[in-house]
């Protein structure tokens, strides 16, 4: 910015030569009505970059949990999916999710059209200063959309072809995610507080999902489940006679790093979902959310640690990582109202769910490489169901109904898309390609070319 040099120089001079300091000018401080807007907008930028960081977390988690020979592919899918998500959410998703008054079908299908931001400097516009800038809101919401896509990539690793995966991601981030998210967060029918609206008249409460145990995580989980079923398990994973062959992750430090990144990003994910930081009450609420999010993750990790110790005699690191993430997913539907103790327990139940359902999926021969379905779908359902335990504005029937509506919509449409992709272009690499690893056969590039394998 062109003003930089002089002002910076002035600031320096002011210190070095205090006598030179400019007289205080009352016009420089923000006008009173800007302050809340600045607080909330900046909060979205900070929490938004934390959620962005989760994309790196998923990438590292997945790169650590696949086998060496499929690592480059996993990296490529994660870089690609975030980039496609960013572009599709801008072109289609944002207005579909937040149509304001422009619903195509009221409360069900939002508006079509690319997102556009405020003019530079808010020039020539009367801005509503009670919330935050559209730019910051767009930035923040975009990251949620990308998160949904990240969830899918882990479950389908080590066998899916690159472009069919990207095509699915494009449809997921442009259409599936935004449409269902509009029902709740865009003010659609699941969030309609009119006494005469469907939710209130039927259940007496609307659907409550603070930061997206259902709207984000279970959606990713349903899409992944549909994909995993249609794609089939990895070669050699399930032998006749029920024998399950584990394919241990190649690089557990990366997987652990990914988990820590996700944990960090989640403070933004849940904290930013408070949506306001313009009063003491709001910032105190964000603080509650940070503390609860942290303790739920700890609860999930400890639960998985203790449970795997008891079940298998040796604690399982990958389960502890999944347990922490399940704790985070579990608290996401309601990170505000629980006490620290309740949050810890809600997270711990998430950890238990993961430890019990990972082998269950294996027994069902549903091959989920990184545990995405237990973590995001099962713990997401649990988290959504747990809301009424601490929040009176939620009810079990409304929660169950919403879980089902969202689940059926996402699972069905995902299944249709995967089936069409399978029929039209094939979604799975060939047998020999899968044996030799996707890195060489699909991308011609090894992730660790100089490290010898054993």
């Amino acid at each position: 910015m062109t003003l930089r040099p002089w002002i910076a120089a002035a600031a320096l001079a002011a210190t070095v030569l205090p006598g030179m300091a400019l007289a205080q000018d009352a016009d420089v401080t923000p006008p009173m009505q800007d302050i809340g807007y600045i607080f909330t907008t900046f909060m979205f930028l900070v929490t938004g970059f934390l959620v962005f960081w989760m994309a790196a977390g998923f990438t590292m988690l997945e790169a650590g949990l696949v086998r060496q020979k499929n690592t480059t592919m996993q990296l490529m899918k994660n870089m690609g999916l975030f980039s496609f998500a960013a572009i599709m959410y801008y072109l289609v998703g944002y207005n579909l999710m937040y149509p304001g008054d422009g619903w195509t079908i009221s409360g069900v299908l939002g508006a079509f059209g690319a997102a556009s931001l405020e003019p530079v400097g808010l020039a020539d516009t009367e801005t509503d200063l009670t919330y935050a800038s559209v730019g910051s809101d767009f930035f923040f919401q975009l990251m949620f959309c990308a998160t949904t896509a990240s969830i899918v990539s882990g479950a389908l690793a080590e066998r899916i072809r690159l472009w069919p995966f990207f095509i699915f991601v494009i449809l997921l981030t442009a259409l599936i995610y935004p449409i269902q998210a509009s029902w709740k967060w865009g003010g659609g029918f699941l969030a309609n507080e009119d006494a005469a609206g469907f939710m209130m008249s039927t259940f007496g409460t609307i659907f409550q999902d603070f930061a997206g145990s259902t709207v984000v995580h279970s959606v990713g989980g349903w899409a992944a489940l549909a994909g995993a079923l249609i794609l089939g398990p990895r070669l050699g994973k399930y032998a006749r006679g029920g024998k399950i062959t584990p394919f241990p992750g190649a690089n557990l430090p990366l997987a652990t790093l990914g988990t820590f990144i996700l944990w960090l990003g989640w403070f933004g994910f849940n904290g930013g979902s408070q949506l306001y930081m313009d009063t003491a009450g709001n910032v105190a609420d964000i603080s509650r959310i940070f503390a609860n999010t942290n303790t739920a993750a700890a609860g999930g990790a400890v639960a998985a640690l203790i449970l795997t110790q008891f079940l298998y005699k040796k604690p399982d690191l990958t389960m502890v990582l999944n347990g922490a993430l399940a704790g985070l997913v579990s608290i996401t539907a309601e990170p505000l109202t629980p006490s620290l103790g309740a949050a810890t327990l809600i997270g711990a139940v998430g950890g238990v769910i993961v430890v019990l359902t990972v082998p269950m999926l294996d027994r069902m021969r549903i091959d989920d490489v990184v545990g995405a379905i237990p973590v995001h779908l099962f713990a997401g359902i649990w988290g959504t169901l747990a809301v009424p335990l601490t929040n009176d504005a939620a009810s079990f029937p409304a929660q169950i109904f919403s879980i089902l509506v969202v689940g059926i919509f996402v699972f069905a449409i995902s299944a249709v898309i995967w089936t069409i992709l399978k029929a039209m272009m094939g979604i799975r690499v060939g047998e020999e390609a899968e044996m030799n690893g996707l890195d060489m056969t699909e991308l011609g590039m090894e992730a660790y070319p100089e490290f010898s394998q054993s």
């Binding site: 584990p246 399982d316 294996d362």
Partner: protein
């Protein structure tokens, strides 16, 4: 000359190497391998699924020696690598027809 191939437990490598140096062995080739034998691995659980680890990490030594030294070398390895537990390894002796030192072109026992 003989080519002696021995497979031992990895943590015995340093001990064996020192013992061999003591009896006059001046060179060898060392490779990390996976051994399969009576000490047939063990069962682990990964994410709730049991599986057998059939291979055990071992180290393989290949040593070319003059025929006269072969017995002593075998004995030295056997002693140094011994822990008395299953999986201590094996020592194999093959006949070596000729040897060449790349640097000088010296052959046979001069090359060792």
């Amino acid at each position: 000359m003989k080519l002696i191939i021995a497979t031992i437990k990895p943590f015995k490598l340093e001990e064996v190497r020192e013992a061999l140096t003591a009896v006059g062995v001046r060179g060898m080739m060392v490779t990390e391998i996976k051994g399969f034998g009576t000490q047939s691995g063990h069962t682990e659980v990964y994410r709730g699924a049991e599986y057998a680890v059939n291979f055990v990490p071992k180290v393989k030594l290949e040593i070319a020696v003059a025929s006269s030294m072969a017995d002593q070398v075998v004995e030295t390895i056997q002693k140094a690598a011994n822990t008395g537990k299953i999986g201590d390894g094996k020592i194999f002796v093959l006949d070596l027809q000729s040897a060449v030192r790349v640097r000088t072109g010296e052959t046979n026992e001069d090359a060792l």
